[in-house]
Amino acid sequence: MNGVEICEIYDSAIHRAMTAILRVLTIVAGLVILVGGVLLLVRHGDTATSFYAFAGEPASLRLVSEIVAGAFQGHALAVVQFGILLLIATPVLRVLFVGIGYLIERDWLYVLVAAIVLVVLGSSLMGLKL
């Protein structure tokens, strides 16, 4: 079993493509959060604020469909929340890509492991009620 790590497909073209996609997604997520933050501060920067009391966010900032809709209408908080959604998607996509890597290697045991992790992640995100 020596050299297991070395036979993995780390330097193949497909691995480079996956790494590039994840990098772009991370940068885009960060930029979307930044743009939303700038919008928020330009429009409501001088509004008094306090986060001492927990109220729970409204549906417009909890449900994926409403966050996306709100973001495209340019609501500042929805834009930030959309960026946060993209950020949450990054590690999920990473697990998917690792699973695809094992599929190419025909390592069925680890295709199964990746599938289990994706199901667990999916069940958490299902709570988002798409």
Binding site: T19, G30, G45, F51, Q81, I88, T90, V92, G127
Partner: protein
């Protein structure tokens, strides 16, 4: 406090936290919640939600900047992610039903452990023992270069490590931290995977674990974008700066100072939790 003042102060504080966290290897997440709760009087649930997003951001940012972690073992990481993600969802649901003061007290205790463990000198696991049967079956093996030769290793005590990882996931979901210290404990101490491999694999796992609980937090309305925005941006920029400095900084003294700061924050979290001030 106005939105602008909050955003400016919180992002500056988070930048500093991310910088120190990445310099010391403790992660910025551990000081974000105390900073928000004690310094800005943010509700614990909002603080934990914001910290969780910043943990995902830091992990994704580090991977975007450096590509693959040098010594990480993808199979070991992926296999243990079954435990951490399930634990994370568990922790997220616990957090929605647990009184604030208990979260503060548990947070304080975990902070104390992190501070203590960061001061310990790590001894290399003995890689020469025969491999474990279950670990061989699951192929939780690998090798890494150490002083110009390739050292092979094999995981041991897989069930114990798996259970500890479930615990690490629960803490991550409950407290919004990466819980890297517990992950390294599970891999390095319980499973006897070489320290360099343990830390690199733990970094690879942190984002996936945090994403599992983030879904629950978001759908329950615990992610407040106005809180999460400055924190995430601050920690991300700070940790990328910290990674640049890492090469030529004298880390030892920074580590001691950071551990003392963490221990003081831990004491204050526990005190405020016990006296019901939160």
């Amino acid at each position: 406090m106005t939105q602008l003042e909050f955003a400016a102060l919180a992002s500056a504080g988070s930048l500093f936290a991310g910088f120190l966290g990445s310099l010391t290897g403790l992660g910025g997440g551990v000081v974000i919640v105390p900073m928000l709760v004690l310094g800005f009087h943010v509700d614990v649930h909002y603080a934990v939600g914001a910290s969780l997003i910043s943990v995902i951001g830091t992990s994704a940012g580090a991977q975007a900047a450096h590509g693959r972690e040098g010594f990480s073992n993808t199979r070991i990481g992926l296999f243990l992610e079954i435990a951490t993600t399930m634990g994370a969802i568990c922790g997220a649901f616990l957090s929605t039903s647990m009184p604030t003061k208990w979260i503060a007290i548990i947070f304080g205790l975990v902070l104390l452990y992190s501070a203590w463990s960061s001061m310990q000198t790590k001894k290399q696991a003995d890689a020469s023992r025969p491999p474990d049967a279950l670990a061989t079956k699951l192929r939780l093996v690998g090798n890494f270069p150490d002083r110009q030769k390739l050292v092979s290793y094999s995981a041991r005590r897989v069930p114990l490590g798996f259970s500890l990882m479930f615990g690490a996931g629960t803490l991550s979901g409950l407290l919004g931290i990466g819980s890297g210290a517990v992950k390294v404990l599970a891999m390095d101490q319980a499973m006897q995977i070489p320290f360099k491999v343990s830390t690199a694999t733990s970094n690879f796992m942190i984002g996936v674990t945090a994403a599992a609980s983030a879904g629950v937090y978001l759908s329950r309305g615990y992610i407040n974008p106005a809180v999460a925005m400055p924190v995430t941006i601050g920690v991300l920029v700070g940790s990328l700066l910290g990674a640049r400095f890492l090469v030529n900084a004298r880390v030892k003294s920074v580590r001691v100072i950071f551990a003392i700061v963490i221990a003081l924050l831990a004491a204050e979290m526990i005190f405020n939790g016990l006296t019901g001030k939160l």
